[in-house]
């Protein structure tokens, strides 16, 4: 789990940026651009819209920093702005079908898996599963998509997701459960999981060890 500790240096950057220091804000942008883009790309469905939404989120952060009181982590607050920017962008553009839904099919989505030594067959199966999940995610409701992406990609805790989306813990928990169930149901109906059975067996053992 990623824990976002606001370091002294980051607090200083936040303070200076809140006072209008663009250099300090630029440093914050560089620190968080990858995380924000990872979220906005998936929520918006393509890198172009994702970049636009990410930029809008940072601009909103710039505007809102003087009033940011640090009740939440800066990253959590930024995720919230990003979610809002993505929602606004999607609503404003009346998303076309071809671009709707989250996309895991970005350029980076086709990069090699970080697994140090996946066999060619394993890599192929994972890519296949990833694309299936990408398509299945499109069918989820926006709120289910959001919680899953924040949980699985950004590894936010339930509490952090609640802060980012202004939800209570019970709602976060139920949404994640329903989102996973919905996604799983779609994948099972498509026959995706049998193709990944071998991977599942491997992960099952790892899960018990982690728990």
């Amino acid at each position: 789990m990623i824990t976002d500790f606001t370091t002294t240096q980051e607090r200083e950057l936040l303070t200076n940026a809140a006072r209008g220091n663009r250099d300090a804000f630029g440093e914050l942008v560089r620190r968080y651009e990858k995380k924000v883009l990872a979220l906005s790309n998936r929520l918006c469905g393509n890198p172009e819209d994702g970049a636009d939404a990410a930029q809008e989120a940072f601009v909103s952060a710039w505007r809102g920093l003087p009033n940011f009181r640090g009740d939440a982590n800066f990253s959590t607050w930024l995720y919230r702005l990003t979610c809002n920017a993505c929602t606004d962008l999607l609503r404003g553009r009346q998303r076309r079908d071809t671009h709707s839904g989250p996309s895991l099919n970005d350029e980076e989505a086709h990069t090699d898996f970080p697994d140090p030594a996946p066999s060619p067959q394993e890599a192929a199966e994972r890519r296949e599963l990833r694309e299936e999940i990408r398509d299945a995610l499109r069918q989820l409701s926006p709120e289910h998509r959001q919680v899953l992406i924040l949980r699985e990609i950004h590894q936010l805790s339930y509490g952090e997701i609640g802060e980012a989306l202004s939800l209570d813990g019970g709602t976060v928990k139920s949404r994640i459960h329903r989102a996973r169930e919905s996604l799983r149901k779609i994948l099972i109906e498509r026959g995706t999981f049998p193709a990944a059975n071998r991977l599942r067996e491997q992960e099952r053992g790892a899960a018990y060890e982690q728990s």
């Binding site: 209008g20 804000f25 930029q55 909103s60 505007r63 809102g64 929602t87 990609i153 339930y158 099952r204």
Partner: protein
């Protein structure tokens, strides 16, 4: 609910590490026996595995630069502007007080303040928020720091004060943010009355820098709570005034059917009506200029002092006029800035109006305290010391405000007395 259902409901929290160790152990035991739950966990892990990693995200070249290029000039919110106005004014008014020539005038006064009255006077000041501040006879030295219309009120109050001066001292105004009291309640007050209930001193909002402190029991006020527009205050958290429009998110169920129910973002202005309906007058912020006579018909907020003197105007401080009521402040880099008063404001209860900058407090290190009270310290300065101190404050963009008819008990002619709130 069966045991399976109970554990099935915990599987996601189990996968996400949100269970206690005891709960997780229970789920592990159940998993070893339940094929359905094993399948769910395995599928969920496969889904997780297929999600891309953040590090795989490609950041477009020059993304940060494009963001910086798109940043608008920092728009200081009215609240921030307000803080910028209030804090220096507060620092000034809270800072000093009372000084110039008062000792002399006091010595020449035909009315001798008794020891009891004087003590009560000081106690009353403490109860009222800590320090005496410019009041009925107190005007900031620098007119630039006071709304142009404010001196008129001061003048009016001063005239009334002068009227009373033959027989009684006027109560000092105090300045600070108040959440509950109404401006204009009461007027000048006699010292003898103050001694009766110093602890019950009432405060009025200090948005403009100077308001009044009056013993509550000495004011006959018809009670129409929340009806005086100037008394409408809202807890800071409830106003939403400083919330970024971009962060407005309405919970599911409160949004339109055709809108994204999870994260509806609405402009700030659109949310106010929903969040602060008129039905709850106690939480309504009424901007100046919207004090509407129909809601506050004549007489409902009528206030009079026990001695029958005319109260201060109901609308105090007066409505600022954009472009007219401007104050001159020193900016961060020392340049002069013309800042309009915001068209509407609320009590700045989160502002620590009494806090002086440390560098300002440091200026008093060279002087020995003359008298300490619960709320501050009196310093006795020679005229030369006072002038030097005034110049130092001026360099810091602040000023020493003189006025108010409060004095430390040991005041004597020939000295300047400066009150520093703590």
């Amino acid at each position: 609910m069966s045991s399976h259902d109970e554990y099935a409901a915990l599987l996601d929290a189990f996968l996400d590490g949100e269970l206690s160790e005891a709960e997780a152990e229970g789920v592990r035991v159940h998993l070893s026996e339940c094929a359905d739950c094993q399948a769910y966990v395995a599928d969920a892990l496969a889904i997780r595995d297929a999600f891309p990693d953040i590090e795989e995200t490609v950041v477009p070249d020059g993304f940060a630069e494009s963001v910086l290029a798109a940043l608008p000039p920092r728009r200081v919110s009215w609240r921030a502007q307000w803080a910028k106005i209030v804090l220096p004014l507060a620092a000034c008014a809270a800072l000093v007080i009372l000084v110039h020539g008062i000792a002399e005038r006091r010595a020449a006064d035909t009315v001798t303040m008794s020891a009891d009255t004087e003590e009560a006077f000081m106690t009353g000041m403490d109860a009222g928020g800590g320090s005496p501040v410019p009041g009925s006879t107190a005007v900031a030295d620098d007119a630039d720091t006071v709304p142009p219309q404010a001196p008129e009120l001061y003048d009016a109050a001063e005239a009334q004060s002068t009227q009373n001066a033959a027989t009684e001292e006027t109560i000092p105004f105090t300045m600070r943010s108040s959440e509950t009291e109404a401006p204009g309640e009461g007027g000048t007050e006699s010292v003898s009355n103050r001694s009766a209930a110093p602890a019950a001193a009432k405060e009025v909002p200090g948005e403009y820098a100077a308001t009044e402190t009056f013993p509550e029991k000495d004011i006959k006020t018809e009670e129409f709570p929340d009806e005086n527009p100037a008394t409408k205050t809202v807890p800071y958290e409830e106003t939403g005034a400083d919330e970024d429009p971009a962060t407005k998110t309405l919970p599911y169920g409160e949004t339109g059917a055709d809108e994204d129910p999870a994260t509806k973002t609405v402009p700030y202005e659109e949310t106010r009506a929903e969040e602060f309906p008129d039905e709850d007058p106690a939480t309504k912020i009424i901007p100046y200029g919207e004090t509407k006579a129909d809601e506050f018909p004549d007489g409902e907020t009528k206030t009079e002092s026990v001695d029958g003197k005319e109260p201060l105007p109901d609308e105090f401080p007066p409505k600022p006029e954009p472009g007219v009521n401007e104050v001159t402040l020193l900016g961060e880099s020392g340049e002069k800035e013309e800042t309009e008063f915001p068209e509407k404001y609320e009590t700045a209860d989160s502002l620590s109006l009494w806090t002086l900058p440390p560098e300002a407090l440091d200026l008093f290190d060279d002087y020995a305290p003359a008298e300490k009270t619960e709320s501050g310290i009196w310093y006795a300065l020679t005229p030369e010391e006072f002038d030097a101190l005034s110049q130092k404050f001026a360099k810091m963009g602040m000023e020493i405000v003189s006025g108010a008819d409060a004095l430390p008990s040991m005041a004597r002619p020939g000295m300047e007395y400066v009150f520093v709130p703590l």
